[in-house]
């Protein structure tokens, strides 16, 4: 039987780019995105025994990652609000350009400039493919709030990209 750590490393190699993309968009900062990646895979490693095989492993890992990213974003948002720290969008755009060749930098900047709640919902819905109901459950808000945030976010994105 193969060493579970070796198998897990294979899983890491197959999925880390997807995980990093989610983490980077949520965190808007390379260092924090790397922390989210670490956190997500450590959580996944610890929770592996609870993976029941009902979904694909990559799907399960995706949800672990999203939760890790949301937790980190909430914690850092509180801290940033206290310390009045701002996200450096130019640095973020540089990292997107490096990490995602061919990415639409204007679009990524526009998404990154959205208010916190709206930004998370846009990423989850339009990029990660979550339904409004799934997002509502994940964030603990009602379906209508997700839809209204999406509507508001679309308006802001169109204005930013006009």
């Amino acid at each position: 039987m193969q060493d579970p750590r070796v198998e897990f490393e294979s899983m890491y190699r197959e999925n880390h780019r997807r995980v990093y993309a989610i983490a980077l968009r949520f965190a808007r900062d390379r260092d924090r995105a790397e922390e989210i990646v670490q956190d997500a895979f450590v959580r996944a490693w610890r929770a592996l025994p609870s993976f029941n095989g009902d979904s694909r492993l990559s799907t399960w890992l995706h949800s672990v990652t999203v939760n890790a990213a949301l937790d980190r974003v909430r914690a850092t948002s509180r801290r940033e609000a206290r310390l009045d720290r701002r996200v450096d969008l130019d640095r973020y755009a540089d990292e997107v350009g490096r990490a995602m060749p061919g990415a639409d930098i204007d679009l990524e900047r526009a998404i990154a400039s959205l208010p916190n709640g709206a930004r998370e919902i846009v990423i989850l819905h339009y990029i990660e493919g979550y339904s409004c109901a799934e997002i509502a459950e994940l964030l603990g808000i009602v379906d209508g709030t997700v839809k209204s945030q999406l509507h508001r976010a679309r308006t802001l994105l169109k204005e930013a990209l006009a």
Partner: protein, 169 residues
């Protein structure tokens, strides 16, 4: 351009957004280290996700750097000061001894019943760890790991919401 056209264009751009991104460096070594040496069935109740050895070193240095002996506050009186060790091995042994005492004191802290007292103790522990982290940075100013330790401990103190920090070593 009509509103419908703008909506279509936005949808098309969102649909083309990449779903993968390449990290600037290989993160696996840090992930593997943070996973620890045990298997996936490892208990998940640990409060801190900090590897033990660095924690002990940081904790031990905290004793030297800040002079705070948690054991004095929670339980046993502090042992008499040991004679200054000679040589790097003796110093390392002394660091290990102090670290073990510190970790034991922290474990005792976890058993205290009063939440206020525990919070106060956690703050005292974090304060001592921060002192140790500064000492590490002073000893090895060019080592990125020491910087990360300091950042993490400082972050944990600023956070103050019980969210365990993630450490990159």
């Amino acid at each position: 351009m009509s509103e419908i056209d703008r909506d279509r264009e936005l949808d098309a751009r969102l649909a083309r957004a990449p779903r993968q991104a390449e990290p600037a460096r290989d993160l696996w070594p840090e992930v593997a280290l943070a996973m620890g040496s045990s298997g996936p069935a490892r208990p998940t109740g640990a409060r801190w996700r900090v590897p033990r050895t660095p924690l002990r070193i940081a904790a031990a240095l905290a004793v030297f750097a800040s002079g705070v002996l948690v054991g004095q506050r929670w339980g046993e009186p502090a042992p008499p000061p040991a004679p200054a060790p000679e040589g790097s091995l003796a110093a390392a042994a002394e660091v290990q001894r102090a670290g073990t005492e510190y970790v034991t004191a922290l474990a005792r802290l976890g058993e205290t019943s009063g939440e206020g007292e525990r919070d106060q103790g956690v703050e005292a522990g974090l304060s001592a760890l921060q002192g140790a982290a500064y000492e590490l940075v002073r000893l090895r100013p060019d080592d990125p790991q020491t910087g990360r330790i300091l950042y993490t401990v400082s972050e944990a103190r600023v956070d103050g919401d019980g969210t365990p920090p993630t450490v990159r070593f």
